[in-house]
């Protein structure tokens, strides 16, 4: 899947947050600290690639709680595999020693 290789760091973080159970766009913002301008396009992209799935919650639940229905996202099986591969790739960028770390401060 060539698209998977193109996943940006932000998108991977979103995927990661979902894998850890975040279901709503808003939760993912809280979890990752990314801006809303990054999160929602990323969610959309993940869905197009089949790495995530979204559904509107049952309207009755929302009605009972007197709020509008929410849309919740879940990671798919393929999303999980992709996440593992992507994390592997980013991990390979991790600093080898302290000297390298100081010259490359922006790694995860």
């Amino acid at each position: 899947m060539k698209e998977d290789k193109r996943l940006s760091l932000g998108t991977v973080m979103v995927l990661h947050a979902m894998a850890r159970g975040c279901q709503y766009g808003f939760d993912i913002i809280e979890e990752t600290g990314l801006t809303s301008g990054t999160i929602y396009p990323a969610l959309e992209k993940l869905e197009q690639l089949g790495l995530a799935r979204s559904e509107w919650e049952d309207g009755r639940v929302a009605q009972q709680e007197k709020r509008p229905a929410r849309r919740y996202y879940t990671i798919t099986a393929r999303g999980k595999t992709t996440l593992v591969e992507a994390l592997e790739r980013y991990r390979s960028l991790a600093p080898l020693d302290a000297a390298a770390a100081s010259s490359k401060p922006r790694t995860i």
Binding site: G25, F26, S36, P41, E44, Q48, P68, R71
Partner: protein
């Protein structure tokens, strides 16, 4: 109901705004997501500051952008272009018309741009060309704004200026001898620093030295690359060779680069001034240029030169009282009012033509789109988003515009050649005009822009299409009434633009005719002219000149077919010459003298040109070098001094002596203007030193047929004299008017293109409307309507469109025609017959354009029409 808090309301507004960018098919879902997230967030984090919420909501814009972007992917664009090509192939006729329309518009724009670019926008080919300036003498009292500079003034400018390097030049032609035959070469006298100021020193040899500017030391010459090739076969050993200019040996010290360019056309040899120090401060003939040093601005330099000029005026009141200096960049100096105004008019006109072409193509595409309602609806029903469908239409439009642009370039190649051919070769920098990178870039931008402009029309229409209705069997075509109105509005716009162009070109042609026409005050149609220059060594004094003229003139007069024969120092439309004069017996200060134009003429001049004598007499054979000096003046001169008195017998003082007025002749217009004629003073040729005269021979047979006979007579008097510039006086004037013929010709062609395109537009819309209404017309005829009444209905509608367009166009033309005034030469910009004529003409064209669709309408077979659907 309590209002939501400010932060929440602001966030909602932001989301709604961002939603506007989301394609309509996805907007509902998108809005729902964002509202849900907003409420969710609001519930969890009520206590957070409102600006956090607003900041969060701004993310909706990047999300909307993302959605929009993913709708247009590269793959889908390529697919669209392929699809466009395939579907365009199925409508070849329509596409061909669209492409040709566009190509005409784009070709015209590119051609005009190529010239305007060189004349107006492209910097002069000098290093830091914005620092190269021109300096003029001004004098408010005398009404001088751009007068040349005297030699002493120039030297003072150059010596005293600290921020400008100032150089000067003046034109002079030389007799070049020493080769196989004597030749006349165009040259210029220049100050030693002339090439330094232009920033273009010779590439071989050297520039002039300061000492070579002095009289006696200036026997050196710098030649152009072209001259070096023609006369010396590009021999590198040319330096230090000697050429004879006016019989005097000059040493070649430098050869200019092939890229050397100056504003003076055709100059081949450059010789330094011979400054003696005796030059007059009252003789204004130097063309002065300067280069402002990088350390100063042009404004600063302007202040300095004015100060120097003021000092000169104060120091030499006798000659220079009231004089000032005017500095402007050479670039702006070279784009005079005519060029600027002409460029603006030309660019406006091509913009009109281009708009007409766009409207035409838009209409054609609408026609095409209407025929494809079902296809579009089907694609929509099968899941193509509206954006995707719009993209499809745009792709088609861009493909058409690219084809139009490519063909337009071919047209432009011819157009540019045509333009160059009607522009006189001495027009500034005309040799630089061509189909170059800048023109290509311009064409590219115009092509894409037009594609997007006319491509919007079907896009807007498809946005209105109701897929369901279109899919229904027998449903009416999409867009319906609204689209019909839009198409008609396009045609009205087209016609109105065409009317404007036609009015403008009709006015320009009239202006030109007026300039060229019989209102010169003389008759040029039956006159042969030729020139003879008498060498000074053979004709040293007035007696010798008198002998020559009095022996040649009767010989020419005696030729069969000759009505009268005479000569003048300057032919009409071939330039001008002015002199100081005064009327008082005491010679006044220079600043109080007046200027008049003057000519030296032989007897019978006014007869040859049919200029009426109003009072007194003209010159006769009795006016000899030794008899009393006499002048003939024109009405304008009379009006200046003797409006209420008899001028005959009055005396006019010139620096060469006093002359008595013996006659008054009618005014003539002798140069490219229809302003009131200037005062003119005619003097007898033999009462002055006039070695170079242009002969004027009025004939009763075609003038050109006499050329050989004239040569024979001249040879009989003196076999060594060449007779040159032999041509009819009408041709002399036509040559002089070449520059003035540019505007009417260009506008004429553009108006013609506009006319064809807009009449085609009317035809297209009417033809389409008839084809769309086949059923309706069939029903009308089945119900008993006559063919005649159906036909007149269609023609009436077409004429209405044309009429509306004509009405709007007349208003538009009234608004813009004043801008043409510079080229109208006195023709009223609101000339009613022109407006009426153009209106009637276009209405007629509108009727004709709707006639053919109307006739087709009457041929509708009611039964067939009803059955087709």
């Amino acid at each position: 109901m309590s209002r939501a808090p400010l932060g929440l309301r602001a966030a909602r507004t932001v989301i709604r705004l961002a939603g506007a960018f989301v394609p309509r098919e996805r907007r509902g879902e998108w809005q729902r997501l964002w509202s849900a997230e907003l409420e969710h967030r609001w519930q969890v984090h009520r206590q957070r500051p409102a600006r956090d919420l607003v900041r969060w909501s701004l993310g909706a814009f990047s999300h909307a952008w993302y959605v929009l972007r993913t709708e247009f992917t590269m793959d889908s664009i390529l697919q669209d272009v392929r699809y466009a090509l395939r579907s365009l192939r199925s409508g070849k006729g329509l596409v061909a018309v669209a492409v040709i329309s566009l190509a005409l518009g784009i070709g015209a724009s590119a051609s005009i741009f190529s010239v305007v670019d060189v004349l107006m926008f492209r910097p002069l080919p000098y290093e830091d060309s914005e620092r190269v300036v021109r300096i003029y003498t001004t004098n408010e009292e005398r009404g001088w704004t751009e007068v040349s500079v005297t030699v002493p003034d120039f030297l003072d400018f150059r010596d005293q200026s600290e921020v400008t390097d100032i150089a000067a030049s003046s034109g002079e032609s030389f007799n070049l001898s020493g080769g196989d035959r004597p030749e006349r070469v165009v040259g210029r006298r220049v100050s030693y620093n002339f090439f330094r100021v232009l920033g273009m020193p010779p590439v071989r040899g050297r520039s002039f030295t300061e000492g070579e500017e002095r009289a006696g030391q200036n026997r050196v010459v710098i030649i152009t690359d072209g001259f070096w090739h023609r006369h010396f076969g590009a021999d590198p050993a040319v330096l230090d060779e000697t050429v004879l200019l006016n019989g005097e040996p000059h040493t070649i010290v430098g050869v200019l680069s092939p890229d050397f360019w100056s504003e003076y056309h055709g100059v081949d040899v450059w010789v330094p001034f011979g400054v003696t120090g005796e030059e007059s401060r009252a003789s204004y003939y130097l063309s002065v240029v300067g280069r402002v040093q990088p350390t100063a601005t042009v404004d600063r330099a302007r202040v300095e030169i004015s100060q120097i000029a003021n000092q000169i005026a104060a120091a030499y009141p006798q000659t220079s009282s009231g004089n000032g200096a005017h500095m402007l960049t050479l670039q702006s100096n070279m784009t005079d009012e005519g060029v600027r105004s002409g460029s603006l008019i030309g660019m406006t006109a091509v913009a009109f033509v281009l708009l007409i072409a766009c409207a035409n193509v838009a209409n054609l595409l609408l026609t095409r789109a209407a025929g494809r309602d079902r296809e579009v609806a089907l694609r929509g029903a099968l899941g193509a988003g509206r954006i995707r469908i719009a993209q499809q239409f745009l792709a088609e439009a861009v493909v058409i515009s690219l084809l139009g642009g490519a063909l337009g370039l071919v047209f432009a190649a011819f157009g540019i050649r045509g333009l160059i051919s009607i522009i006189p070769p001495d027009f500034e920098r005309i040799d630089a005009v061509g189909l170059d990178g800048r023109v290509l870039l311009f064409t590219g931008v115009v092509t894409i822009a037009t594609g997007l402009i006319f491509g919007m029309a079907p896009v807007l229409q498809s946005a209105k299409t109701n897929f369901v209705d279109s899919l229904k069997e027998g449903g009416r075509s999409g867009g319906g009434v609204t689209s019909g109105r839009f198409r008609k509005a396009l045609v009205v716009a087209e016609v109105s633009l065409a009317v404007t162009l036609l009015v403008a070109s009709a006015l320009l042609v009239q202006g030109f005719n007026r300039l060229q026409g019989g209102e010169n005050g003389f008759d040029e149609t039956d006159v042969l002219t030729f020139r003879i220059t008498l060498p000074a060594n053979e004709f040293p004094d007035t007696t010798a000149l008198d002998a020559f003229y009095t022996s040649l003139r009767p010989r020419i007069q005696a030729l069969p077919g000759v009505v009268s024969a005479s000569a003048t120092s300057i032919l009409p439309w071939r330039g001008n010459s002015g002199t100081w004069y005064w009327l008082s017996e005491q010679e006044p200060l220079d600043s109080e003298k007046s200027i008049t134009n003057y000519r030296y003429i032989l007897p019978e001049y006014f007869e040859a040109l049919d200029v009426p004598l109003l009072r007194g007499r003209t010159f006769t054979g009795g006016d000899r070098p030794t008899t009393a000096r006499v002048v003939v003046i024109n009405e304008a001169m009379v009006a200046r001094h003797w409006a209420d008195a008899d001028p005959i017998g009055q005396r006019i003082h010139l620096s060469s002596g006093v002359r008595e007025i013996v006659g008054v002749v009618a005014d003539t217009r002798e140069y490219g203007s229809t302003d009131a004629p200037d005062p003119m003073m005619y003097m007898a040729t033999v009462q002055g030193m006039n070695r170079s005269m242009s002969w004027v021979v009025e004939t009763s047979t075609p003038p050109a047929a006499l050329a050989d006979a004239v040569r024979a007579e001249v040879a009989a008097v003196n076999p060594n004299l060449p007779v040159f510039q032999v041509m009819g006086l009408d041709l002399v004037i036509r040559d002089a008017l070449q520059g003035d013929a540019i505007m009417p010709r260009v506008m004429g062609v553009l108006a013609l293109v506009a006319l064809v395109l807009s009449v085609g537009g009317v035809y297209g819309v009417m033809a389409y409307s008839v084809s769309q209404r086949t059923r309706e017309l069939g029903i009308r005829m089945a119900l008993g309507a006559h063919g005649r009444s159906v036909m007149s209905m269609v023609v009436r509608q077409g004429t209405m469109l044309a009429g509306l367009g004509v009405g709007v166009g007349i208003l538009l033309a009234l608004g813009v025609s004043r801008g043409l005034s510079l080229f109208l030469y006195g023709v009223n910009p609101f000339h009613p017959p022109t407006f009426v004529g153009v209106a009637v003409f276009l209405l007629g064209a509108g009727v004709a354009a709707s006639y053919f669709p109307a006739r087709r309408a009457t041929k509708v077979d009611p039964m067939l029409a009803l059955r087709t659907e």
